[in-house]
Structures are given as structure tokens and as C-alpha cells.
């Protein structure tokens, strides 16, 4: 009975989405405000209905109601409750329901969370949002219905893929979806703006918080996925250029470009058509990502939905959305004239440079991801495009962009002073060179160019700090005055600084982990040890134990450095009988400067001991620390007072806000 309630709520949500689209479209077209204003309550009701359906599905999972096909296929009574919960979106149908839930939630927020949004713009945006919701609700109801019953109901479920039974992965999909779906709001505003034929600074100010929210969620969602791969897949890799990873990276690149171009639209009313174009492209990439992951066209570990009907449906959504919105763009974009004037050396130009490289990065990842599919379809030739391709195309594009990061915020709008900015960055450059020399000396025993990457990251971190130091005039004014200036600085300035510095921290981590790692494998019996990178690893004991829904073979290790014990580690191999699968649980001695990573292999046939692999991943944690900084920076910018629409703006806030980015 309860699942039918959810099913009914979902059908009702579909009907409400239809009402939202038709009423707002008819109302806007005939200038009938009462009709058009129905969009907001419809959006709220739609959210309540989808929310009900989601709660019902969650209850079914938590109570292990195996009369639901989806629960029987993806859950098991022995699973801990967290994984029963994450099992709701650990499968195709449930994850699409989550997608629609977030979409409806954002629709309700647009309807009721932004009071001073002009009614007409709001109704048009809600019309577009409703259309996206309608299409995805149809997709869920007709091809991926989570509420299908099973008769007779089995006594036990099939369980959830054990590599997915992990806290980081429980939150990875919801965060990615917040990112993907948040971009749908930017898309809705972009289409609404084209429909109105008007883009202005106020429009950009309405859209920017949504872009920042999506970008922050995408950043941390991608980072969580990478962090999970690092410790769960069991060989210390953190980025594989897997098609599914690429599917989330492409919208991230475009969202990053959009984030920056929207600044120009907001501050200088420039790049209007381009910003609208990027907003549409970003969402198109989100849809493409959903299509690639959900249709199973890619051979990849993530593609667990192999149903061509679904693939064709999403492809149709993608084609109509992209085709329709870009046709609208071609028709209406000439109305969006930008009359901003700026010199070749200016913040505007710097942001154009940023946008050029970011969009080419996104295009490169797109080409590399789709090329084998297209080539095979056309010529039948099978090739593989893997990490070496992406490393040798995306990196050369990224390096000039990263080098330029500290210049951007220091350049003035309209006309920048390159010589002045270079002078201000002199000290930063000297320190960076010092760090590079130091790194080079410290790492000269290992091959590779870690010092270059670490130098690049240092340059970005210090450059971002320099911007903030200059703005509060630290050491040039009395400290108390600087402190007062620091308190008056808009949050967006700190957000920019944090995000840029976070990117630098991430680059340092990538360089360290990417080119300074080392590993060693040996057969160890209890009491024996191996040496790697100044650490001594001793296998103390091995044993077996039984977990809630798995059996584990484990090895206990002692890690010492200079004959001093620094850590006790346990590495495991777990067998999940319900799912018939195994996972590795690595042992990690984590420090800021690197991880000492231990993997328990198989017991040797001749009884001489266990294959044990030790690996060193220098600076690897900086990758995810960097992502945290970036995410926090994005959220801080989002909370900037100028986006709190309707909030009274004081004269002081207006002045400092003017120089902010």
C-alpha cells in the first residue's frame, strides 16, 4: 500500500509539472498574470509530491520491502542502515528519482526563495524548469519506475555492490546531482532571458548563486569520487580519466567558465550572449553526463544500467534540449548586445582568456571521451583513448591558465596595468622559485618534474594570498586598520582567494602524488618486514573475522620510522557472500606530507607468507584538501551580501562591492 502512495505521488507530480508549464507559458504569452503566477504554487506542489515519492522509496529500502522489485534487486537485510539508505540512489531508478527530487526542490526554491526576482522572469524560468521536470518525470515513470512490484516477494534481496557500500560513496551521487541539477536553474534562467530578449546585471546576479552552488557541489562531488577510488579500489589511483569521471569533469569545466563569464555580465554587463550560451552548454553537458552514465554506452565500471530504451529516451531529451535551446539562442541572441568597452589588458580580457582555455579543455575531454564511440560507429575501427591522451592534451591547456590565475584578480576592470601587476607579484615569484629549487633538491632522487608542478601550485596559493594582503593593505597601514579593512572586504573576495588557493593546493597534491609515488611488493610471513621510503613495515599477525554482512581476512601491521613505531595498521580483504563480491580495505598511515599505503594480497600457495604491497603517495591528501578549499570558497562567494537579493545594501557595501570580483 505504501509504495502505491509513492507511485501515485509521482504521477501527480507529473501532472503538476504539466500544469506548471502550460499555465506559465499561456499566462506569459497572453500577459495574463493570474495564469502565469500559477507556476510558483505548482512548483512547490510538485516538490512536495516528488518528496513524498522519495520518502516512500526510502521507507521501502529501510524496511527492506522486497515486494518492490528495486529493493529486492539492490538491498539486503544484513546491510547496515546507512547503506540501506544510500541504496536508494545506488541504482538507476532510485538515482533518477533523486535527480528529479533535487530538480523539483530547486524549482520550489526559485519559486519561493527569491522574493525580489521580477515576477515575469520568475514565471518564464519556472516554465522552463517545469518542462525539464516534466520530461524527467516521464523518463522515471515510463522507463525507470522505482515502484514496480514483485510477486511473489523474495525472502532476501540481492544486495548492493560492496564497493559502493562506503560512506564517501553514499554522498558522492547526491552531491554530483546537486551540481548537475543546479545547472538546470542556470539553464532555465538563460532560456527565460532569451525568451524575454533581455540580459542585464540583475539577471546575472540572480543566476550567480546558482552557478556557485552547482560548481561547489560538483567540485566536492568529483573530489569525493576520487577520494573513494583512492582508498577503495585498492591501488592508490585517484583519477583514471574514466568516461564516467569525464562525464562529470566536462560540466565542471563549463561551469567554471560560466562562473567567470557571469562575473563580467554582472559587473560590466559584458559577454551577455556568451554567458547565456555557456549556461545552456553547461546544462547540456550535465545531460550528456547523465546520458553517458545512465545509458551504458560506455564500457566502464560505473555503467550498471544497460537498457537501450533508457539510453534512447535520454538521448532524445538531450537532442531536444540542445537543439531547441541553441535554435532559440541563434534566433534571439542578437538581441543581447553587450556594449562593455575594455582594453586588451584588463580583467575582462583575462576572464576571456580563462573562458577560452576552460571551454577548450571541456571540448578536449568531450572529443577524447566520444571519439572511440564515434570512430567505431563510422568505420568499425576500435581504438582506446586513455589517460596518456588526456594528460598530453589537457595539461598543456591547463598550465597557461593556472599560471595566469594570480594575475586575474589583480588586474583592474576596463584597463589593467600589466607592469604594475607584475611588480606586485615579484615577491611571490621569488618565493615560488625558492620553493622550486628546494623541491628539486629534496626530490632529485626520483625522476619526473614534481618541482615544476609544486612550483605552479605555490605560485597560485601565494598569488591568491597576495591579492587579499594588498586589499587590506597589510603591513602598509597600521594593523588595526588592516583588520578593519579585512572585516569590510566582501565575502566574494575571500571566496575567490580561497578557491584559487585551493586549486593551487590541489595542483601541489597532484604533482606530488603523480610523480613522486613509489611502491614495493614482497612476500611477508608474520614477523617479517619490508622497507620503503624510510618506513619499515612489519606484518604482525593475520586472521579472520566476521563483519555485519561480510567476512574479512586481515593482516595487522606495524609501521616504524627510524626504529620508532609510528602507526599500527590493518589491511583487509573482504568477501560479501550476499553479493558474491570482494573488496580491499587498505591500511593507511596518513600524514600531511604523504600517505604510507598498505595492501594485503593473497596468501602464497607454498605457505611462505602473504603478498604485501606498500606504496608511498606523497602529498596526495592535498588534492582533496584543495577541493575542500575550492568548495568552501564557492559557498563563501555565494553567501556574499550582494546576492542576498532584497537585502538592503549599505553605501559601504556598495563601494567595496564594486571592486570585488
Amino acid at each position: 500500500m505504501i509504495p502505491e502512495l509513492g507511485h501515485f505521488a509521482l504521477v501527480l507530480a507529473f501532472a503538476l509539472a504539466l500544469v506548471q508549464v502550460l499555465a506559465s507559458f499561456a499566462g506569459v504569452s497572453t500577459k495574463n498574470d493570474r495564469l502565469a503566477n500559477m507556476a510558483a504554487p505548482a512548483a512547490l506542489a510538485q516538490f512536495i509530491c516528488v518528496g513524498t515519492a522519495f520518502v516512500v522509496l526510502t521507507i521501502s529500502f529501510l524496511s527492506s520491502d522486497f515486494s518492490l522489485n528495486l529493493v529486492a534487486d539492490n538491498s539486503h537485510t544484513a546491510k547496515p542502515w546507512l547503506y540501506k539508505l544510500s541504496g536508494v540512489w545506488g541504482n538507476h531508478e532510485g538515482s533518477m528519482l533523486l535527480w528529479v527530487l533535487i530538480l523539483a526542490g530547486f524549482g520550489a526554491m526559485v519559486a519561493y526563495g527569491t522574493r525580489s526576482l521580477p515576477q515575469d522572469l520568475k514565471n518564464r524560468a519556472l516554465c522552463v524548469q517545469g518542462l525539464v521536470g516534466l520530461v524527467f518525470l516521464a523518463f522515471v515513470l515510463f522507463t525507470s519506475n522505482p515502484f514496480l512490484r514483485l510477486d511473489p516477494a523474495p525472502f532476501e534481496g540481492l544486495g548492493l555492490n560492496p564497493v559502493l557500500q562506503d560512506p564517501a560513496l553514499a554522498f558522492h551521487p547526491p552531491l554530483l546531482y546537486v551540481g548537475y541539477v543546479g545547472l538546470s536553474v542556470a539553464f532555465a534562467f538563460a532560456v527565460a532571458a532569451l525568451w524575454r530578449g533581455e540580459v542585464n546585471a540583475a539577471w546575472a546576479r540572480f543566476v550567480r548563486p546558482w552557478i556557485l552552488l552547482s560548481w561547489s557541489a560538483l567540485t566536492i562531488g568529483i573530489a569525493l569520487g576520487s577520494w573513494w577510488a583512492y582508498y577503495e579500489l585498492g591501488w592508490g589511483g585517484w583519477w583514471f580519466w574514466d568516461p564516467v569521471e569525464n562525464a562529470s569533469l566536462m560540466p565542471w569545466f563549463v561551469a567554471t567558465a560560466l562562473l567567470h563569464s557571469a562575473i563580467v555580465t554582472e559587473r560590466r554587463e559584458g559577454l551577455k550572449a556568451w554567458t547565456v550560451f555557456l549556461a545552456m552548454t553547461a546544462f547540456a553537458f550535465s545531460l550528456l553526463g547523465t546520458f553517458l552514465v545512465r545509458s551504458g554506452v560506455l564500457t566502464s565500471v560505473h555503467a550498471f544500467a544497460n537498457d537501450p530504451a533508457r539510453g534512447v529516451f535520454i538521448l532524445a531529451i538531450l537532442a531536444v534540449t540542445v537543439g531547441g535551446s541553441f535554435a532559440l539562442f541563434a534566433w534571439r541572441a542578437p538581441l543581447l548586445k553587450s556594449d562593455a568597452i575594455f582594453a586588451p589588458i584588463s580583467r575582462e580580457s583575462a576572464l576571456l582568456f580563462n573562458n577560452l582555455l576552460l571551454t577548450v579543455c571541456a571540448a578536449t575531454v568531450l572529443i577524447g571521451t566520444l571519439y572511440p564511440l564515434v570512430l567505431e560507429a563510422i568505420t568499425g575501427e576500435i581504438i582506446s583513448v586513455g589517460p596518456p591522451y588526456f594528460n598530453s592534451t589537457v595539461l598543456p591547456l591547463a598550465i597557461p591558465l593556472l599560471l595566469a590565475v594570480p594575475f586575474g584578480p589583480l588586474l583592474a576592470w576596463k584597463r589593467g596595468d600589466m607592469r604594475g601587476v607584475t611588480q606586485r607579484l615579484m615577491l611571490v615569484a621569488f618565493i615560488t622559485i625558492g620553493v622550486m629549487i628546494l623541491t628539486f633538491v629534496l626530490t632529485r632522487s626520483s625522476p619526473g618534474f614534481a618541482f615544476l608542478g609544486i612550483g605552479l601550485g605555490t605560485w597560485m596559493v601565494l598569488g591568491s594570498a597576495k591579492d587579499l594582503i594588498d586589499r587590506v593593505k597589510l603591513a602598509r597601514l597600521p594593523f588595526a586598520t588592516s583588520l578593519r579593512r579585512a572585516a569590510g572586504l566582501p565575502r566574494a573576495a575571500y571566496g575567490t582567494g580561497l578557491a584559487h588557493a585551493g586549486l593551487g593546493i590541489m595542483i601541489i597534491g597532484i604533482s606530488g602524488a603523480g610523480s613522486l609515488h613509489d611502491d614495493h611488493v614482497a612476500v611477508l610471513a608474520a614477523g617479517q618486514s619490508l622497507n620503503l621510503g624510510g618506513y619499515e613495515l612489519q606484518l604482525d599477525t593475520t586472521g579472520l573475522y566476521e563483519g555485519p554482512n561480510y567476512y574479512s581476512e586481515y593482516g595487522d601491521f606495524t609501521v616504524s620510522q627510524n626504529n620508532r613505531v609510528v602507526d599500527q595498521l590493518r589491511a583487509e580483504r573482504r568477501i560479501y557472500p550476499a553479493e558474491g563480491q570482494a573488496t580491499t580495505e587498505v591500511g593507511m598511515h596518513a600524514t600531511l606530507w604523504g600517505d604510507f599505503y598498505v595492501i594485503l594480497g593473497e596468501e602464497q600457495d607454498n605457505g611462505s607468507g602473504w603478498a604485501v604491497t606498500a606504496a608511498i603517495h606523497p602529498l596526495v591528501r592535498w588534492i582533496w584538501f584543495g577541493a575542500l578549499f575550492m568548495c568552501f570558497g564557492g559557498l563563501l562567494s555565494m553567501s556574499d551580501s550582494r546576492f542576498r537579493i532584497g537585502a538592503p545594501r549599505g553605501a559601504k557595501a556598495r563601494q567595496t562591492g564594486n571592486t570585488a570580483s
Binding site: L233, S300, S349, G368, Y371, G386, V521, G580, I599, A611
Partner: protein
């Protein structure tokens, strides 16, 4: 319980680290060259995994081949040619530049060039002054009014 685990391992593909004890070459320079090569080869029976990282028997077989060839003094290029003639081009994660892959390799840089031209044009046009049509007397009056009452401090 031990037999249960043993039984389970018979049916389960273990996602584990690819290095096996005794696999490595004794010469560290040769070994690191072999490892670099392995990271550029695809495990053909896996889903998007490298020969270096995969646990599949196929990957172990190719690792042995690569190490043998490296030890025999073959160049990287010779080894890749040998492997792609044996297993097909799809074993190479770095596709060779050729008739069917030039768009793949040159596409990004052509797009960069195209984009750079568009950016340069838009920067140049942003520099141009708007056409200087003199203000009509009506407009001049409006301007005076606006300036007299004090405009938006932002302007």
C-alpha cells in the same frame, strides 16, 4: 569459516593490486621503463583499466611480455608495435596519430586556435569607441538634469 572464504574467492574476481612478488625486473631502470609502458596499455578484458593496475590474467600475461621485451632491449615503439599487431590498436591507451585519429589529436588545438581568433576579435571590437553621434538638445537637457540631481554612485 576459512573454507567459506576460500570458496568465495573461487567465484569472485578480486580487485587487487597488480604487482605480484617476483614479477619485477631486477634492473630498476628497466623496471621503471616497463612500468611506464604498462600504464599506457589497456587491459583488453577489463573495463577501462591499465595493464599496470589490473588483476586479470590477461594483464599479467601482457606484463610478462612487456618485461621480457624491455629486458631484451627493444625500444618502447617496437614493443608497442609488437603488442598492437598482436592484440589490435585498442591495447594502446595513447592512440597513434594517423588518418583516423588526426581529428582526435589535432582537434583540441584547432579549437584553441579558432577560439583564440574569436577572443582576439571580440577584444578588438570591445576597444572600439561607440559611434559618436552628438547628443540632441533634448538629450543634453536630460544629461544635465541627471548630473544635477546626482547619478548612481556606481557610474
Amino acid at each position: 569459516m576459512r573454507w567459506l572464504i576460500f570458496l568465495a574467492t573461487l567465484f569472485v574476481a578480486l580487485p587487487l593490486y597488480a604487482l605480484e612478488p617476483g614479477e619485477a625486473l631486477s634492473d630498476p631502470a628497466q623496471e621503471s621503463r616497463a612500468r611506464v609502458l604498462m600504464a599506457e596499455l589497456r587491459c583488453m578484458v577489463c573495463q577501462n583499466e591499465t595493464i599496470e593496475a589490473s588483476r586479470a590474467p590477461f594483464a599479467a600475461e601482457v606484463r610478462t611480455l612487456v618485461r621480457e621485451q624491455v629486458a631484451a632491449g627493444r625500444t618502447d615503439n617496437e614493443i608497442k608495435t609488437f603488442l598492437s599487431s598482436r592484440y589490435g590498436d585498442a591495447i594502446l591507451f595513447r592512440p597513434r596519430l594517423g588518418l583516423s585519429t588526426w581529428v582526435l589529436w589535432l582537434g583540441p588545438f584547432m579549437l584553441l586556435g579558432l577560439g583564440a581568433i574569436v577572443v582576439v576579435i571580440s577584444i578588438r571590437s570591445a576597444r572600439e569607441k561607440p559611434s559618436e553621434v552628438p547628443l540632441s538638445t533634448e538629450e543634453q537637457k536630460q544629461l544635465k538634469n541627471l548630473l544635477g540631481t546626482g547619478g548612481d554612485p556606481k557610474q
